[in-house]
Amino acid sequence: MRVEHTDKAIGEEVLEATQSICPECRKTLQAELVAREGRVVLRKRCDVHGRFEALIYGDAERYREIQRYRKPGARPRELQTETLKGCPHDCGICPAHEQHTCLGIIEVNTACNLDCPVCFADSGTDPAHNGAGGFSLTLEQVESMLDHFVAAEGEPEAIQLSGGEPSIHQQILPMLAAAKSRGIKLVMLNTNGIRLARDPRFAPALAELGIHVYLQFDGFEDSTHIAIRGRRLQDEKLRALDRCAKAGVGVSLAAAIERGVNEHEIGEIVRFGVEHPTVTGVFFQPVSHAGRHPGFDPLERLTNSDVIDAIARQLPEWFREDDFVPVPCCSPSCRSATYALYGGGDLVPLPRLVDIDDYLDYVTNRAVPDLAIREALEGLFSASAAGGTDRAAARLECVACGVGLPDELQELAAKGFMIVVQDFQDPYTLDVRKLRRCCVSEIVPDGRLIPFCAYNSVGYREQVRAELAGVSPGPARGGSHERT
């Protein structure tokens, strides 16, 4: 039965029409976003595979409210593909895309030293991920991919080397160095931390290169680690963090949050990160249902509003729901962020100090709001950042008064702490309009930049993996490798 625009009988209201894909056959489908029982649901129907519904946002009222943060994207310098079949089947980036890439991701291998029950990259220790069924990129391939990224972006803001588990790739340090040498501002290693914990030379080597660690950190309880990662990991996580702290490597915690598994640990993860000397932020990612993820209900998944509510509920002395600002890039329901100052046991979120709407341009069109929000924070105190207004100048003159803030700014900034809540799309939740503004791209060896949520949902991951499978087992340590 077709539901009319407002059907009071079942309390449902159509918010927007969009397009999605069939999770079974990947065919493009018409889709609708509807408000139902206070939540936002995406629904669609495939002629062959039937009807699909998935939860998009846990709070319909807030979903409507945050749409005002939608902004037009900034286009990339270069396009790699043509529009032939229609979004989302021409990725790479094609002319229909409305956003440049803020964060590039290179998956350097499929091999891993864990076998997580949940893995969007379907990686693991099994030889299938290491040998014929998987891949391990060469340094030359990675260098060429970095060059494509630089060509597309000019001065790329951030890159993340990922996997698999990138830290076990024998060429990982030269790969990271190659990214650094191309002037990319923020070079991150996305890791489970096992090598950091076990290899005392690894953290110092990362420190020397100026690498930021993006550390999987899902909570503290054994049951959490066993459910999401397949085994106990707590000791290794803590040892990895201590090694990073000792070596001077900055760390962002990346927490995959699953309903009924570790929702209750969200507040503790924030508190732990805030208090840990080397942790600069936490990225919360509601678990997406791409790749390997057995037994789930797309209508019972967690969304950003659920995570934000959990933070406010579990840390009421520090956070309110409205401390989290929807970031227009990619889309307000994809990503919300806050930046806080921490000192003397107290924490103050930045949005409480300023009218954040005045600074929204700073956080527009960037996937890693850290740099942007830092600039905004500095803009509070410096004449140069706020357009040389009287207001900024007056702030600079605060040195003359009793409070004297600018002198202290560096110290305050060092205690800045960022929280990002990031909901990635999967074949069930994919909304093509949001996808066109996606600013996180998988860089693939042929030079295409494929929006992350398309890569995981539409079949690109499987295609790329099949093309690369068995091509190269990776170069031997210190040895040369023949170019393909």
Partner: protein
Amino acid sequence: MSGPEGVFDRLLPVGDAKTCCAALYESKAVEWLLDGQLHPGGEKLTLRLGELAGLRRGSRVLDVASGRGRTAQLLAYRFEVDVVGVELGSQSVAAAQASAAAAGLGSRLCFVEGDAEALPFEDQGFDLALCECSLCLFPGKRRAAAEMARVLRPDGVVAIADVTADAAALPAELQGAMARVACVADALPLEGYERLLREAGFEVVARERRDEALARMVQRAAARLRVVRMLPRAAGMTAEVTAALELMTHAEGAIERGELGYVLLVARRRGSAERSRRSNG
């Protein structure tokens, strides 16, 4: 012994309430605490008040207690009006004049030193008198209202934005010298301002409650005080900052209970419309 006023004692010269207030608002520390917004709602509510008052290009506006002239500048720029600002603080007058010149608005703006209760202007010279978040501070409110009436032309309009307070219900903690600085102790309830204006010969034509803007301002100042407490340099002032924070908590509670608020009020000189039509006809 250190109360919340201790924070400001260190930043401010000591004087009587009225000059103390003027001096307080010249303080850069206070400006920072309030994020440069010396009244709730910032520029948005200033512009809203201008709209409600029907400002038009060329209107002659008097800004009573004009501070460093930001409101006057904003109105001159957005509505293309001519503004005279009157202000008790001599430094503010000089700063406002300099800032207007720097903004290229020197021909539209002029600032003079003077007391709101004895305005240094002739009768009936202005189309609009504006008093933004200042009437609450004046010890002689009736005198100030009468003065605004005197300097307005017969069908002139007065535009007030101010803190409202139900003095009987306010918690004891919000009384006293510090509370006066924070626009609380001498503020009137909404009906009080309306009566004041009626008695000065005005008829209220628009009112808009904006309590949420005051709540945001208090919350912002509290958050900034918490940041001040993080500074090593503020270590010796912890007790004062904590006391000031308690005061803000009381203020937040009072706003929630409706005992404190913020309102935009526009009133026209009573019976003046007919007179004006006659004189124009």
